[in-house]
Symmetry: C2
Subunit: 228 residues, 2 copies
């Protein structure tokens, strides 16, 4: 799985949430990070280069602060110019067909306001309809958006949970399945094991892996009974 | 009623539909036309000037080609920058409260595709949710969008009907009421009467006015019976 994270934010250095997400993917295998306003400070997009770039990836993520219920203008410009008839859609334009399109939304308002009776009135599902329609037109699979509400209020523990959710959103084929999430944790422990030297640490990591594996076996067995 | 039409189109000279709409409002009393890409060719918006401009109008119209289910990037930039906390929303930001927000959408695809089972999957009501949410946040009344589908296929007669619908959308307090539309036609005939010199023409115009008035009286009477 190769993932391209296309980020749009006009003042990214001043954004704690965007810096947090940027650090999370630094040196992450299979993930490329592409901040549009840094790549094109004069706003002039190299359309051919962007179209070529898209070819190498299985999953495209739009990551941005939710400005007036959609992307900042630079990402809109990118969509308007890079999505070209005959290249990315229409006859002969199957460049993105079968790939995933995901959204990572950084939202300043509380989650509870995005519902009937809430101050924003509409749900995130309603407000992101244009992106769902875009995925539809391009023949892409639209992923459930990852919405990060009020990042500045998150505790350290909540930030760590977000970190895992975010990395799984970018890298897991099926990030909503418990099974594939468990596998992801096993892989992470494997990698960690190769980097520790103390025998005691190796033993701890092996114990955690055994625990997850036992849990998984038990879950699978229960599932078998339910399916009978 | 003072109406400001904020137009966004990166290549407006090449657009027949936008030129048609532009000519329709030339010298139209109470309507101001403001094309963003012409006003700011370098893309740098004068935020204070735009905020001041908004004060003078009762109705704000966003007019644009439907690019990937929303406005071209220049209008998004305008929204992101001109809508400022404490000025146009939030504490002290009641600049737009009580005004109307309307959309004039120029759409290349046929109307029938914007429904379940249609090629675009979603309705215009669903796709314009971000603008509805914007109006909600600003305390504005959101008007039913005026959608112009496949302008290039319109016959001369259909173009004339569009012209009337468009002018009424911009200038009528209640453009969806038959009654106020009839009044609008009466006003137009009045103005026309002042510009013709032949007695025969004056007589024709008076006859049309009488006809509309009689029709209106009959409709009102029927309405009274229905309301009983």
């Amino acid at each position: 799985m190769q993932t391209l994270v296309i980020v749009s934010h006009p003042e990214i250095e001043a954004s704690n949430s965007q810096q947090f997400l940027k650090e999370a993917v630094a040196n992450q295998e299979g993930v490329s990070y592409h901040h549009l306003e840094s790549a094109y400070p004069d706003g002039q997009i190299d359309i051919k280069a962007e179209q070529n770039l898209l070819k190498d990836f299985d999953r495209i993520i739009f990551q941005f602060p939710f400005y007036w219920y959609s992307a900042p203008s630079m990402l809109k410009k990118w969509i308007d110019e890079v999505m070209e008839e005959g290249v990315t859609f229409g006859t002969g334009g199957n460049l993105l067909e079968g790939k995933d399109l995901g959204l990572v939304l950084v939202i300043g308002v509380a989650e509870k306001e995005y519902q009937v009776g809430g101050r924003e009135h509409f749900t995130i599902s309603q407000l992101t309809t244009p992106y769902q329609a875009l995925a539809n037109k391009l023949g892409m699979t639209f992923l459930t958006p990852l919405s990060i509400f009020q990042f500045y209020y998150l505790s350290d523990k909540e930030q760590k949970i977000l970190l895992v959710d975010y990395l799984q959103y970018l890298t897991l084929k099926d990030f909503s399945s418990l099974h594939s999430r468990a596998h992801w944790f096993m892989d992470q422990l494997d990698k960690l094991e190769g980097r520790v030297s103390e025998e005691a640490d190796k033993f701890s990591l092996q114990s955690i892996q055994d625990f997850i594996e036992d849990n998984q076996l038990e879950l699978d067995e229960m599932q078998l009974h339910l399916d009978k």
